[in-house]
């Protein structure tokens, strides 16, 4: 079984934590990754900083800018992840980045480097299903799961194709817009989740705007297999506050089983 399969087989809601690599320095982010795991994060999603992150709100933009200002390069990030993997052999790690970084030295080169670093999946924020074929093929050739995004406005036939092509988990965007923790989240994704479930998609994990234990419970109650929290963690770290207590509280909210009946819309401020 892959690391993702092993994790989902544990049968409890998954708490995924996101941070930007190199924010504010490589040493600091290596320490944060360890702290996230020790505090209970089931999987890690890590950003490779890009100069023009169009899917990100102000918090993650600022994190990428700090990382780049500190001189963080993709090669540094892969080295950091390889070291993380030697310390944590079983925690799934996914990269979240943008297409131009994947293409810069050629797609295959990128996925080969990711595989060497012990990375489990890559999500490319600006590659929709329409353009995902060559990325997914290269990823799979190197044993990397190509994570694809599904949204509440994604048409049913496209959800089927996302289910067939994607791997690892299905990244479900909880709301429209960009990343950030400043808006209410409405979990009314029954149709999307039902369709993904029916066609055997990789487990649905919600991201975008998930920043409180109430969000976690609502997402799991709505049928998610897990959630990913990014901006709230990055914001805490940027303010110099410890992330451990927050992660523990978020992880605690996942206990008590996943899934359950798919109910009506749940609005969480």
């Amino acid at each position: 079984m892959s690391r993702y399969e092993t994790m989902f087989a544990r049968g409890e809601g998954v708490f995924g934590a996101f941070v930007m690599l190199g924010d504010p320095t490589l040493e600091a982010s290596a320490a944060i990754l360890d702290a996230l795991v020790e505090a209970g994060a089931d999987m890690l999603e890590v950003g490779l900083p890009f100069s023009d992150p169009i899917a990100d709100g102000p918090v993650i933009q600022a994190a990428a800018a700090r990382a780049l200002a500190a001189g963080t390069r993709p090669a540094d990030c892969f080295a950091l992840l390889a070291e993380f993997r030697s310390r944590h052999p079983s925690v799934p790690v996914g990269i979240l980045t943008y297409a131009n970084l994947v293409m810069a030295r050629g797609r295959d080169h990128f996925y080969a480097r990711a595989a060497d670093a012990g990375v489990d999946s890559v999500l490319v924020a600006d590659v929709p299903l329409l353009e995902a074929g060559p990325f997914a093929a290269s990823a799979r050739a190197h044993g990397i799961a190509p994570v694809l995004i599904a949204a509440a406005n994604t048409p049913p036939e496209r959800l089927d194709a996302i289910a067939a092509l994607g791997g690892g988990y299905t990244y479900c965007v909880a709301r429209a817009g960009v990343t950030g923790a400043d808006q209410a989240v409405r979990f009314d994704h029954e149709a999307m989740l039902a369709r993904l479930h029916a066609v055997g998609a990789p487990p649905p994990v919600f991201g975008f705007g998930i920043s409180t234990p109430a969000h976690v419970r609502a997402a799991l109650a709505a049928g998610a297999a897990g959630i990913i929290c990014g901006s709230a963690i990055v914001d805490l770290a940027a303010r110099g506050e410890p992330v451990r207590g927050f992660v523990q509280a978020m992880k605690a909210a996942t206990r008590g089983g996943q899934g359950g009946p798919i109910g009506g819309p749940i609005l969480v401020p």
């Binding site: 100069s51 169009i54 810069a104 929709p128 994604t154």
Partner: protein
Amino acid sequence: MLMRGRFGAFGGAYVPEILMPALEQLEAAFLEAQADDAFQAELASLLLNYAGRPTPLTRCRNLGGAARIYLKREDLLHGGAHKTNQVLGQAMLAKRMGKTRLIAETGAGQHGVATAMAGALFGLETRIYMGADDVERQRLNVFRMQLLGAEVVPVASGGRTLKDAINEALRDWAASFDTTHYLLGTAAGPHPFPTMVREFQRVIGREARAQILAEEGRLPDALVACVGGGSNAIGIFADFLGDDEVRLIGVEAAGRGLDGGEHGATLLRGRPGILHGAETYVLQDEDGQIGDSWSVSAGLDYPAVGPEHAYLKESGRADYVGATDDEALAAFALLARSEGIVCAFESAHALAHALKLAGEAEVIVVNISGRGDKDMAQAQTLLGLGR
């Protein structure tokens, strides 16, 4: 998508999945409108009676020596630049799709002004994203946009210029697409924008072709246009693509020189990559981080380029060259003194190259994509006038 949205290997639609339905809605509306006589009649009427088309093709009386240089006068269009052509088309599509709000990016402010004009004309709420540094440099255009009823939002991220304004407009659109049309200002970005903007700008070349045939009884030896994102160039090239005897030449901003880092010459010094929704040439470092461009003209100060130009370069149908800041400024001053025409700094890049061609080509058409009013303060400083 109904169309392939590719120009050879270039183009495509590299956007977050959540924006795909908005692009598909736009493509469908555009294709329907292209086949709708009522839409085309309304657009033609607006171009004639509101925008001031057709624009003249002016033969230079004093410039060019033995060559006959003709200027396609988009500087005389309402709003002061070719931008108005395609903004009217897109604003009509926005109404057709039932959108109530327009957003746009702008560099120097010409596209922002054109979008604000269309917002006023069609009763659409309008927000313009503009790099914070550009807001400072282009105060007059900021005021014009505000006068026209638009909200101007300074973008303080990244390099605080056009690239960053596009990033912010895309972020807005990812949350607002239900009510909002993103009125992208050039023939770049994800499909269908490059194709749609070309079709709305095609009128430049269609007119120029008929005008030069009437004047000269033959096609020109060369067409010359400046290329930032590339909309004025693709607009004048489009109807000549099949005329192999006509050289098509795009002029990029060589800024302070192609060998330094300060230029906007994406096709000459960039390499293929993916930015702002399209696979195209991009100025970038070895890791793929996007580079900062430079040009004296804000409209050419952009580190990517429309994907069709990337294709025309690779196929060899068009040639791309550079003109430096100094060459453009010299051409700008020369046109003013020789012909009594004050063109935009952007257009002066095209003229600078046309003047170099004058020895080898007999009939040359230059696209004067905009007028130079916006550049007066900069020109005063750079040319040392009024002291």
